[in-house]
Symmetry: C2
Subunit: 225 residues, 2 copies
DNA sequence: TAAATTTTGTGATTTAAATCACATTTACTA
DNA sequence: TAGTAAATGTGATTTAAATCACAAAATTTA
């Protein structure tokens, strides 16, 4: 299936900086693919051959730690996926898996590199994106290791509401094992804390459906630890 | 004091990709400054105005977490310092402090941006550097949170020997509080583990002087956790 | 070089959270 | 729709590591 890059509103950042000729080149050298929830998009340990752009949906970035699969973060469209692992190493250093049904655009690596070469503005935007992501990782890692579970789970719920779904009512995109891997807690601890929040009327929880009743409280718990 | 960028062997990566004109421009717009052990080079919360290149010495990168100052990593010359915080945000999101006496080259931000624009190769090298650093951060963070203290301290000692000093005998560049902040452990735990390693003849420790007696053991402890 | 400060060592106690164990609910699939 | 598998809830127990408390070195500085 053919798509027109210039009309891809999701690609705004990149497209705005591209010339007509570059756009045509991009049109000729990309492939849009759909993935179902649970499908692997990038697999740790395999060769990285394409630049990946997430057009629609939600994915998790995760890597094999010494003991368990660490989920690093949730990312929603539109965004590039795994630039660091695509450029930083021939072999993928982490995995990316669809958490909802998603639409992915694979871009040929050579073409992408040519874009970087020919277009400073584009290249600079990519540098900025990489920098911002790295800053966020540092912050995230410091929180995860310093806060205790309650704080991290509260923070995760606030992030889902504010950043991912932009709504105080949503369905948890991960199960409790995965939430544990993301915030560094056991499945049981996640369960206990969520139940506690429900009991304290900070959230309303039915199955995976969450409604935040007292965001202030959550933010407070997230801050204090 | 004036230095000649083209002769700065520390800057090899960047310099190789620069034209004569760019080099001259760099020569006109940089300042080499010496710092003593303990001096702040970049301060979290202040404006980021210059690109910083570490010519000589060892520094720590650290940021204010919810509870304590988290040390993210040790970095040794030659390398750029804090590119993510310089480009990713107007305000520095982390600090960099000298751990030994160091020599720093401050490069004007505008000039650096012009280099990025005019020189694709240079720009691409910076992208690669950012990518590799981010991959390393992920790995580091996963280790820190999944391994227990013994494993992390063993890993830290191996890293000092293999990456930082390239020698199995060295002086700890951080005190035990700082080591704790780096590997997420209390000062007391660091002390206990180091003493244990010494008692078990895995290392020889006199004050901060360390000699690794059984690197295999250390690597094993580091791997298993 | 003596006094003050910082750093380190080590035991006793506490604690957050992991693990274990099992019941219960929810979601697949045959 | 029954039957199996996956996910969740919850108490009891264990554990790694933090915290507390204080002594002893080591380093700084007055």
């Amino acid at each position: 299936m053919k798509h027109n890059c210039s009309s891809c509103q999701f690609n705004a950042l990149a497209v705005n900086t591209l010339t007509q000729r570059s756009l045509e080149q991009l049109n000729e050298n990309h492939a849009v693919v759909s993935f179902s929830k649970g499908d692997a998009i990038i697999k740790q340990g395999t060769f990285s051959t394409n630049v990946v752009f997430l057009r629609k949906g939600l994915v998790k970035q995760h890597l094999t730690g010494p003991y368990y699969e660490q989920i690093v973060r949730l990312v929603k469209a539109p965004t590039y996926l795994g630039l660091p692992t695509t450029f930083g190493d021939k072999i993928n250093q982490y995995s990316i898996t669809a958490v909802s049904d998603v639409e992915i655009c694979f871009i040929d690596m050579k073409v992408f590199k040519e874009l970087l070469e020919k277009n400073h503005q584009f290249s600079y935007e990519i540098i900025l994106e990489l920098c911002r992501n790295e800053l966020e990782s540092f912050r995230r890692c410091a929180n995860r290791t310093q806060k205790q579970s309650r704080g991290n789970i509260a923070g995760f719920l606030v992030e889902l509401a504010d950043k991912i779904f932009e709504k105080d009512e949503f369905t948890l995109p991960l199960n409790q094992v995965e939430i544990g891997n993301l915030i560094d807690a056991s499945r049981e601890s996640v369960s206990r804390v969520l139940t506690e929040f429900h009991r304290d009327k900070i959230i309303l929880m039915r199955g995976r459906n969450i409604k935040i009743l007292n965001k202030n409280s959550l933010e407070l718990i997230s801050k204090n630890g």
